[in-house]
């Protein structure tokens, strides 16, 4: 029996070896892809084009602009500010502002900051000047980041300026106070702002590095696609070319064929997994805090579940092309439930429940848990139970379809 299984596996590996383009795509396509994507999506959200219109044009407003310019989040666009001021129709001017540029060379502004007339005077008199932020809602994520950073910067700046004004009025001096004094006040205000804020500790990803979150997601995603594709196409190819019939008339039992076919798909999947894990760790600095052997063992289990899904796809489709379309469709759902863009916990309740039926959901919890949290079986055993259950369900269904096809063809 073992012999026959190995025979099938060997045939598939040979097929892979003979199609060198395919071999390269299958082994290195995912890795090179992940490098590019990880690099792009792990980037900090900064250098956001921001336009400041200063109606006050005072020493204070100019130093606020300087403070904002020093902030890495912003990249100030002065020309756009002039254009905006020269247009009397505010609505029209805003449209012009937010739609100019292209994303490669000079990205469109995400935020407009308007400093009102009398800003300096009101601030020094303790009268709370009103700064207006207008955000480009067509760029949701960057405009949100820009707003957060702008609020923090402006409030800190305001607190310092107020303190300076107070100090000046107490000592009867003119504003601005002397340079040493102003530096001292700045220091005091910053310390005070820090102390009055509650202490926040961030766990597991202390620097809130985006790459630590996105790359495991992307790796899991790439891995799952590779495996499911390999499995689906291996079987779909046989069906499409009619060689499946020949396999069936050979003296082999269904599960022998399935396991034989699994081995080469496993080979592809596992090779990719090791490669991607290495890339994550070395290039993107994602830590491996938990047990590496445990992760490597569990990965095999996870791959088996996804393999089953690949075979299932192949069993319900007739051609490779159809198999691919089905995989694409479930891929969209899978990336949704991997929590890549939105945490599953925030989704509607129905969807949270549905997510449980997608193996990647559980795998992401295990993967992140081992990589970042150093947790073990005692914590994620429910995920393992789910995965095992899904594995049995999916592989059982595959076998059932397989038997049915056998019945049809004999």
């Amino acid at each position: 029996m073992l012999n026959r299984i190995l025979n099938i596996a060997w045939k598939d590996l040979l097929h892979l070896w003979h199609n060198r383009l395919l071999l390269i795509l299958v082994l290195f396509g995912a890795a090179s892809e992940m490098l590019l994507i990880g690099w792009a999506t792990g980037a900090d959200v900064d250098d956001l084009t921001t336009v400041i219109v200063d109606y006050d044009d005072s020493t204070t407003s100019r130093s606020l602009i300087a403070a904002l310019e020093d902030n890495d989040t912003f990249n100030l666009d002065d020309d756009a500010a002039d254009d905006y001021r020269n247009n009397d129709d505010r609505d029209d001017a805003l449209d012009d502002l937010f739609t100019s540029g292209n994303y490669v060379f000079n990205p469109e502004p995400v935020m407009l900051i308007e400093i009102p007339e009398g800003f300096e005077q009101q601030l020094q008199a303790g009268e709370q000047p009103e700064v207006l932020l207008t955000l480009n809602g067509a760029k949701a994520l960057p405009s949100r980041t820009a707003r957060r950073a702008a609020e923090e910067e402006i409030l800190t700046f305001g607190a310092i300026e107020r303190a300076k004004a107070l100090a000046a009025s107490e000592s009867g001096q003119d504003v601005p106070v002397s340079a040493e004094q102003s530096a001292a006040i700045e220091q005091i205000v910053l310390t005070q702002l820090e102390t009055t804020q509650a202490n926040i500790t961030v766990r597991y990803n202390e620097d809130l590095d985006r790459a630590h979150y996105t790359t495991p997601s992307e790796a899991a995603f790439v891995l799952y696609i590779m495996t499911i594709m390999a499995a689906a196409l291996l079987l779909a190819r046989e069906r499409e070319y009619g060689t499946f019939e020949q396999l069936l008339v050979m003296p082999m039992r269904p599960f022998e064929i399935i396991i034989g076919k699994s081995i080469s798909a496993m080979f592809v999947g596992y090779a990719n997994f090791i490669l991607l894990l290495g890339l994550m760790n070395v290039v993107f600095g994602v830590p491996v805090r938990g047990s590496l052997p445990l992760l490597l063992v569990l990965a095999i289990g996870y791959l088996f579940v996804e393999l089953g899904r690949g075979f299932l796809v192949a069993m319900v489709t007739r051609t490779q092309n159809q198999a691919l379309l089905v995989i694409m469709l479930i891929a969209f759902v899978d990336i949704t439930f991997s929590g890549y863009a939105v945490p599953v916990e925030s989704m509607p309740d129905v969807m949270q429940f549905v997510a449980n039926f997608f193996p990647i959901r559980h795998w992401m919890i295990i993967l992140r848990g081992i990589l970042q949290k150093d947790i073990g079986l005692s914590v994620f055993w429910p995920q393992l139970v789910w995965l095992a259950g899904l594995g049995i369900l999916i592989n059982g269904a595959t076998l059932w379809f397989f038997r049915r096809t056998l019945g049809e063809q004999r």
């Binding site: 199609n19 792009a40 994303y103 102390t195 009055t196 694409m328 969209f332 949704t336 509607p348």
Partner: protein
């Protein structure tokens, strides 16, 4: 190029497509189905973040703070823990993403002037621990917990100061009041998407992204004729190669446009996304986008001889970058410059920008010319290269 030949080819390809009920179903309904499912799941902001409270203060104030944190959209108080270790194990199990630790003496800090002074010098007796695994939701949760507790503390202190007003002289009172108010008021207004609805942001982008399906599907058309042996007879006929390629593309453009129309209707009626641009222009640009995507798929189809390798290559090109670098999740403008240049060859990036621009901003050719130009270049170049490489020969 003989127009009749193009139509003959297109008609034949259309027959192939419709003869195969599963393929036509997947191609025509699949994208719409995906749009609904993905948009419904993902179009939520970071909400209901599980929050665990460690309350060492056990006072009316700490209970009120807890209630006001629970009242926010972002946070959801799911439980209590006896001490920090307990709470952290919940963090490990993902039962909590945020821990709020209220130390003993917190009530005193917000209900008396002495306490207020203590808070201003020694800091509030309040600590937060946040699960940073997912930076984006962590940031949102942090912002929410900080903002809400500050708002609560400020309100409490204002009341405290008001209560003590009679006992204080005017300057001291003014000083206290000043401590409690922001030096600057910041008004923020979201243009194009007033309430920053995630669904408005996501759905137009998704419409562009799911159109990669026809693109992937076309990547096997030539390989299929090759493997079925029909290519040999086809290349021995006088039909020109341009007619073959264009004829093969047209039915896919048609399917893509059915998708666009269906998805447009779903976006408007089901998800209530506004459409502010010119509909005729939108349809024209959508077909341009479909053409560009299909031209790339066609190129794969010609470059790669085996169905399998063509499928893998198109998967690697369309699915991963198509989804992850499209700008749907993560803004393209902050990519490293080299990656930005790389994205120039991805029609989906322009597709997303055109869709968002036309749905939300109502912009036209004057603004989108750059993306239109890119798509035109991709479509024409892709088609040109494809027809230059495609030989009416079999080897």
């Amino acid at each position: 190029m003989n127009q009749r030949h193009v139509w003959a080819m297109a008609r034949k390809e259309w027959l192939h497509m419709t003869r195969d009920p599963m393929t036509i179903f997947l191609l025509a309904i699949g994208p719409v189905l995906m749009l609904v499912l993905v948009a419904y799941s993902m179009a939520t902001d970071v909400e209901n973040v599980p929050t665990v409270i460690v309350d060492h203060d056990n006072s009316a104030v700490s209970t009120a703070l807890e209630a006001s944190l629970d009242d926010t959209v972002v946070l959801d108080v799911t439980g209590h823990a006896d001490d920090q270790d307990d709470a952290e194990s919940e963090l490990e199990r993902r039962d909590a993403k945020v821990i709020v630790i209220i130390e003993d003496g917190f009530e005193d800090q917000v209900t008396s002037l002495a306490g207020m002074n203590d808070m201003l010098t020694a800091g509030p007796r309040l600590r937060f621990i946040v699960d940073g695994t997912d930076p984006i939701s962590a940031e949102t949760a942090m912002e929410a917990v900080v903002e809400e507790s500050e708002r609560y503390i400020t309100a409490q202190l204002q009341q405290t100061v008001d209560n003590e007003a009679e006992n204080l002289d005017e300057t001291t009172l003014a000083m206290y009041r000043e401590q409690l108010e922001n030096p600057v008021i910041i008004e923020a207004e979201n243009r194009y998407n007033k309430d920053l609805k995630a669904v408005w942001d996501l759905v137009p982008a998704l419409i562009a992204v799911v159109l990669v399906l026809p693109g992937m599907s076309i990547s096997t058309v030539i390989a299929r004729e090759r493997s079925e042996g029909t290519l040999e007879a086809l290349v021995a006929t006088p039909i020109s190669k341009h007619a073959i390629l264009l004829g093969k593309t047209l039915p896919y453009v048609f399917v893509a446009m059915i998708n666009v129309v269906l998805m447009y209707i779903v976006a408007r009626l089901v998800f209530g996304v506004p459409f502010r641009g010119n509909l005729a222009l939108y349809l024209a640009l959508s077909s341009l986008y479909a053409f560009a995507t299909l031209a790339v798929g066609l190129l794969f189809s010609i470059l790669i001889r085996s169905i399998e390798a063509a499928l893998w290559a198109s998967m690697l090109f369309f699915l991963f970058p198509g989804m992850l670098l499209s700008g749907m999740f993560f803004p393209v403008e902050v990519f490293p410059f080299i990656v930005k240049l790389e994205t120039l060859e991805l029609p989906v990036v322009s597709g997303v920008l055109i869709n968002r621009g036309m749905f939300l901003q109502g912009v036209g050719v004057r603004v989108l010319w750059w993306n239109i130009l890119l798509l035109l270049v991709i479509a024409i170049e892709g088609f040109e290269i494809a027809s230059r490489i495609f030989k009416k020969r079999i080897a």
